[in-house]
């Protein structure tokens, strides 16, 4: 007799048995590592430099230059890390970054589209070879494509993963609530329901409208400040809603307000999803990108807030199955609060369909981001992305390396997420278990 495995582990081992999934996971891990280490991997500043007893890690810290004093003579020298002078080069111990170019920095020796197999020249007209070369060629201004690709992976991974995190949180929460509570589980007295609905207006007023100028100032200052101010607004908003909810109890003096009725959770959320699905997503993103300043944060937020509907739908359907299982009944009979049962007991069992959708969603988000930066919409022009490299290749077809390499990177990453999604679907699909 074999040892009994938990269904999750069983699915997981089934997932890892597929060769395509393993290959996809390996590729994604590599991409993730490159994205995380991008500033160290491709940087025109050295990784480590030691001079006259001073140690620097310029590519890690991001500092442009430093002032050092010689302990013996007391002479001050300024070091520019991106452009080390010949004397410093001789004196210091230097460990260069593996790709010693930064994206968007032009190398005038190799400007105007130099291919990876063409002859490339260093300072003083010397021919360079090996790792010194631009491994994937250069663009019009002599910018290194390899460095652009490495830093581009960062953008793609960030946009894909962060936007789907937002979508996942919204989708899981709303889908789980719609599926678990349905239309006939959550009861609320009429008084509290009416008061909570009425509370939206003052909550908005005190939370956001009164604070317009504070919020506007925060938008202009820094992301941290903005998040802080937004949290204050949200706390005010929710606090006032809660207050009105409690105030509803006061209405209970009148009998009609005391009557309890069901909150149509499922109907409300499902209708909301149906409305959102009808919105043209690409056009919405393009329109919003058109009126706001191009920024990655905006892009992530828009993709995140428009992509949660699928996740919510699948989670809802799975939750309908899970909520009728015995262990939920027993948790309820133990007297746990409904919210706790929902998020701690029911949701972990209903998470598989969301994982599948998120995997496909990341692929979609990466595709969307690269398409938008290919068109030059929504992504700041000073950030190197796979899409923007590709669109630079459109200007000069003889520079095939500008089209081929970023395209392959996009294709492989998107395919890997799709393969992972397919693998997850097959592994967790109960229909195939028999």
């Amino acid at each position: 007799m074999t040892k009994q495995q938990s269904p999750f582990r069983e699915s997981l081992s089934r997932l890892l048995k597929r060769r395509t999934v393993v290959v996809a996971l390996v590729w994604l891990t590599i991409m993730l590592a490159i994205a995380l280490l991008a500033p160290i991997l491709a940087n025109d500043k050295p990784f480590y430099i030691s001079i006259q007893g001073h140690n620097f890690f310029p590519s890690l810290s991001g500092e442009e230059e430093a002032l050092i004093t010689d302990p013996k003579t007391g002479i001050e020298t300024r070091i520019n890390f991106s452009d080390l002078s010949e004397s410093i080069r001789k004196e210091a111990t230097i460990l260069n970054s593996p790709i010693h170019f930064s994206p968007h920095k032009s190398d005038l020796n190799n400007a105007d589209y130099v291919g990876p197999f063409d002859q490339q020249y260093g300072d003083g007209g010397k021919e360079i070879s090996g790792l010194e070369k631009h491994l994937l060629g250069t663009g019009r201004r002599g910018e290194d494509i390899m460095a652009g690709m490495i830093h581009g992976s960062r953008v793609s991974m960030t946009v894909g993963i962060l936007s789907m995190t937002i979508a996942g949180i919204i989708g899981l929460a709303l889908g789980a609530m719609a599926g678990y509570f349905g239309d006939n589980k959550l009861k609320l007295s009429k008084g509290r329901m009416i008061m909570t609905t009425l509370g939206i207006l003052p909550a908005w007023f005190y939370g956001f409208q009164l604070r317009t100028f504070e919020l506007e100032a925060a938008v202009k200052s820094s992301p941290v400040n903005l998040i802080f101010q937004l949290i204050i607004s949200l706390v005010l908003f929710l606090g006032i809603m809660f207050l009105f909810n409690r105030l509803g109890k006061l209405l209970h003096i009148i009998k009609w307000f005391k009557k309890e009725s069901f909150v149509m959770m499922d109907t409300i959320i499902s209708r909301f999803i149906e409305i959102l699905i009808s919105l043209p997503k690409l056009i919405l993103i393009i329109s919003v990108a058109a009126i706001s300043k191009p920024s990655l944060v905006n892009l992530i937020l828009i993709i995140g807030f428009t992509s949660w509907t699928e996740i919510a739908r699948f989670t809802r359907a799975e939750m309908l199955r899970v909520r009728s299982l015995d262990y939920i009944q027993s948790a309820r009979s133990l007297g746990y609060p409904e919210i706790r049962i929902l998020f701690l007991h029911a949701l972990p069992n209903a998470i598989a369909p969301a994982l599948i959708t998120i995997s496909f969603g990341i692929a979609g988000a990466i595709l969307m981001e690269s398409a938008l930066s290919f068109l030059g919409i929504g992504v700041p022009p000073d950030i190197a992305t796979w899409g923007s490299l590709l669109s630079a290749g459109k200007e000069n077809f003889s520079a095939w390396w500008l089209v081929v390499f970023p395209g392959i990177a996009i294709f492989l990453t998107v395919t890997s997420f799709n393969l992972l999604g397919e693998g997850l679907r097959d592994a967790f699909d109960p229909k195939l278990k028999s």
Binding site: L201, S370, V403, V414
Partner: protein
Amino acid sequence: MIRYLTRRLLLFIPTLVVISLLAFIISVNAPGDPVERMISLSASEGQGQQNQNESGQRAYWRTKLGLDLPVFYFSLRPLSEPKALSKIYDAAEKTSVQKLSRETGNPNTAIAFHNARLEFLSAISSQNDSISNLLFADAHSLKYAATTEEISNRLKRLHTELDRSENYRLTELLKTTEVKFLEYKSETSSFRNFIPVVSFNKSNQYHRWFFGDGNWITGKGAVHSRGIIRGDFGISYLNRQPVSMVIGEKVGWSLFFSLASVLIAYIISIPIGVWAGARKDSKFDNISSISLFILYSLPSFWLATLLLMTFANPDIMHWFPASGIKPVFGYPDGASIWQKFSLSLPYMILPLICYTYSSFAILSRTLRVAVLENMSQDYIRTAMAKGLPFHLVVFRHAFSNSLLPLITVFANVFPLAIGGSVILETIFTIPGMGFETVHSIQNQNYPMIVAIFTITGMLTMTGYLVSDILYAIADPRITFDKR
């Protein structure tokens, strides 16, 4: 069925409201001043109301575009904010008054002071020759000053400067302004900031934008706009043509490409998908599955660029033209439709490949799964058992029960036609809606963007409705009353 239809149609209304609200929010928040855009456009075209003075033109466009109205049906404001705030058009001026009234919590004195400083400024600008530039600049910044400290500084400076010029009228006006400012400062009632007031506005920008300024049902009596409900999306910032006219000109190619690509996708994918599904795990199934999967995740803009790079490149293979949709010098005079088509054909091949491959990959894959599920059903076994040839079993029984994916893809045709394939049309420079979208974004042509968003939303919605009805017709087992 009828009950379902009415329910679907009822859902149509809130969706329409949400789409129109989103489009309206986008158009209200669009950067830049539409009035300035219109004026600069008429100035550059050298036509229109040239004899009118500038402020008259401004007022004309403001009423024409409905910008002097409150934004929405109801508005929420603190009691401290003056109700006339929506009448102030300049955004910076508005913020200034808003901040002032919030500081003391007194709307009336704030507005009175604001009017006094406006009057002072207009008096200065009306006699510009005898007044120093410094004075004018100070008066101008007084108009936007938003803190009491800044205002009193400005007033002091204006006072000393005016003393020198001995202009009695201006000194009088400045004195009134100062009195109003003192009045404004003297009375503080900050508690008003914390009292919300809801006010309702019967005529507002949203209503005007959606229903026009005539009768909201019949549309009679409209002077400035007939409303988007009657297809009036305003005027394009680029050439001052009605937006709906521009869309009418551009939609042709997009419609052609989306329809043609769906037809081609049907023709290719039906045999592939059905055959692969009917013979699961055969060699054909395996090969087609892999290649379809690759096609499915191939980014269309990459494939398009690769195709252009290889087949429209003078250095490699110059088989097709790289951009446009018809010969550079246009069609010859009196060319028949067939001649036009054959002249345009080389321009259409590469775009059509890119338009088609992704939808045929999706279609084949979903068809395969649908057929696969049907093949294990009892009725297929019965059909086989009674001796029906295999291909008849597959195409007559299994296929006709797997029509749903075909319908889903068809529902996407119409929104795609208006939104256009933004990416492909840009790469191949096809003069359709997608190209127009990108062009509008690059030139901040917001009325066009809003129109495209609204129409695509409505068509997506209609597409879903039509496909749901077609589902019910194709598969009578689907009952919608209890989903």
